[in-house]
């Protein structure tokens, strides 16, 4: 449909869209009621996944299903998506911020010769143009940007936009356009899975616990993981903890790590250096536990406890357990 707002689907590589798509489709529908379309590049889509996209409010699903689309390679994806975009002439192309969408969407924008607003946290239609808001300079400022022409390409920071409500039973037509596959130059060798912690993925979690140098050693993260299991939180770390070798780099929060924007951030023994704040300052509620009343993290915290984390964490785990068992 011309003038559609495309929502590029991020999935779990097993045929199901990720929950963040509710936010992307929700925002697209808010800006363009009835014109949000899900565009899904995958090697296998599940029926349940297609139904889910419709129930989140996609007016139509364009399914590009082909074995060559997995594992993700930008060169292959761009060829497929660009051809479809030329036919469909969408008004906007939205995707959630994930490691692969960041690259894919940038490359797609270059192929289409249009602008890209990465990691956006807000949108407003002004006349016939879209204005995006995005954090810049380590999150110290907000930049408003606009496009010279459509399609307006943007990625959306997870956990910032209000997710669409599930409209149970809502359906949407699924179209399966022919997939133009480019010959891939990149050859897949292997995938090395991370040892799963059993906790949510850092960038997707609604609650994130972060442990800094105050944790004193790698062995102490078990108390954070225990708390994480009780409240369903991901456990991340500051760079000081990562550089000390206590946690792998994928758990680092901040400017040279992951950017997170959970509903609740709980920092233990984190001082709140500007580079750490860059990665978490758009969190909705911030809790800081630190022995030092002067720690800069208290300046942005909604709730603070000036206390020893080793006393606080077990107590907190106990209290949350009581609360959630009720």
């Amino acid at each position: 449909m011309p003038n559609a707002f495309w929502c590029l689907v991020e999935d779990d590589r097993n045929g199901s869209p990720k929950k963040v798509m509710a936010e992307v489709i929700g925002e697209a529908s808010r800006l363009a009621p009835g014109r949000a379309e899900a565009v899904w590049l995958t090697d296998k889509a599940s029926e349940a996944g297609l139904k889910q996209l419709a129930e989140w409010g996609a007016a139509r699903v364009l399914l590009l299903e082909h074995a060559a689309l997995a594992p993700y390679r930008s060169e292959v994806w761009v060829a497929a998506a660009a051809e479809l975009a030329a036919k469909e002439a969408p008004k906007a192309i939205f995707a959630p911020v994930t490691s692969r969408q960041r690259e894919f969407v940038a490359r797609l924008a270059a192929r289409l010769g249009v602008g890209l607003a990465a990691d956006s946290v807000g949108f407003a239609l002004e006349g016939d143009t879209l204005v995006a808001t995005r954090p810049v300079y380590a999150g110290k400022l907000l930049s408003k940007v606009t496009w010279a022409k459509a399609p307006w390409v943007a990625t959306l920071r997870p956990n910032v936009f209000r997710p669409a409500e599930t409209q149970t039973g809502k359906t949407a037509p699924v179209e399966r356009p022919a997939v133009a596959t480019a010959a891939a130059q990149m050859k897949f060798v292997e995938r090395r899975e991370e040892v799963s912690t059993g906790l949510p993925e850092l960038t997707e979690a609604e609650t994130v616990i972060s442990g800094g140098r105050g944790m004193k050693g790698p062995e102490n993260y078990v108390i954070l993981e225990e708390l994480g299991r009780v409240i369903g939180a991901a456990v991340g770390a500051s760079r000081a903890a990562v550089d000390a070798g206590w946690r792998p780099h994928r758990f680092q929060i901040g400017q040279t790590g992951r950017t997170i924007s959970p509903k609740l951030y709980l920092g233990f023994g984190v001082s709140g250096a500007i580079q750490h704040l860059a990665g978490m300052r758009t969190s909705k509620v911030i809790v800081a536990v630190n022995k030092d009343p002067e720690a800069p993290i208290f300046k942005i915290a909604d709730f603070g406890l000036v206390a020893d984390l080793f006393e606080v964490v077990p107590e907190l785990t106990k209290e949350f357990k009581k609360l959630l068992e009720k």
């Binding site: 060169e75 761009v78 490359r107 010279a148 022409k149 860059a278 208290f298 915290a301 709730f303 609360l323």
Partner: protein, 259 residues
């Protein structure tokens, strides 16, 4: 092997940024400038490849105003052989695509077998120029790489990219573009000898006209910058640990509705 590294000069995160009078850019007075940290990983990796292979050339390239020479100089001090400075007011309002176009034109002139870039520049944070450069060149690209190894005959590179849940390893034929992620390496500090030597190395100025076509107008323009809305004042919860924790849990549940 000839390797080109793209680097951006950015304000040190620790420096305060103030919005300039035009409302669209930052006031650069008093700003300390650094090489964007991810680009330092790219420089380091390029130098290691050259050292390992025992031959080659590493060329640092940056687009920006006069001050950018200082960033290029520090890459030369780390060990890059020479530098190219895209220095022309015609690029003053360059967006990611215009930046990528200018860099692609340099790549075409220089003909390196490998281009190393950063995952993203830590000021504008688009994380886009690298992928767009690969697109304009029609080269394969591996993003957020944590490891790389070039095969002995210099025809391909094996790179491990970081994705949610793990690492994905690919073989890319050269020439290719790689975007460095933190964890790839630990960048070296320039030695005194390196710093002295850097003064004699070449930094070539390139104008838009030298690259053929004049820069196209930006596809994305900045409407304005604004300060963050202040967060509501926080609350320090007093009392002994059990009491304070009880109150925190209550407040998170009832007042903030965060759990």
């Amino acid at each position: 092997m000839k390797i080109l590294v793209t680097i951006k000069q950015v304000p040190d995160t620790a420096t305060q940024v103030k919005i300039a009078a035009d409302g669209k850019s930052i006031d650069t007075t008093g700003v300390t400038w650094i090489v964007s940290p991810y680009d330092e990983f790219a420089v380091e990796e390029a130098l290691r490849i050259k050292e390992k292979r025992g031959q080659g050339e590493v060329v640092a390239v940056s687009l920006g105003p006069d001050r950018v020479k200082e960033a290029l100089r520090s890459c030369l001090a780390m060990g890059c052989d020479r530098a190219i400075h895209l220095n022309d007011p015609a690029w003053a309002a360059a967006d990611t695509l215009a930046t990528a176009r200018a860099l692609a034109a340099v790549v075409k002139q220089e003909g390196p077998q490998l281009v190393l870039c950063g995952r993203q520049a830590i000021d504008d944070d688009m994380g886009a120029v690298t992928a767009q450069l690969a697109e304009l060149l029609g080269w394969p690209c591996a993003y957020w790489i944590m490891e790389e190894a070039i095969d002995a005959d210099g025809k391909s590179v094996r790179a491990a990219r970081q994705v949610e849940g793990g690492l994905e390893v690919f073989d890319l034929p050269l020439p290719a573009v790689l975007a460095a992620q933190k964890g790839l390496n630990e960048p070296r500090y320039p030695t005194l000898k390196g710093i002295m030597g850097a003064k004699k190395k070449e930094i070539r100025d390139v104008k838009a006209a030298d690259l053929g076509a004049a820069p196209e107008p930006p596809q994305l323009s900045i409407v304005g910058l604004q300060a963050l809305p202040p967060r509501p004042p926080g609350r320090i919860i007093q009392g002994d640990v059990p009491t304070a924790v009880k109150e925190l849990v209550r407040a998170l549940r009832e007042d903030a509705k965060a759990i």
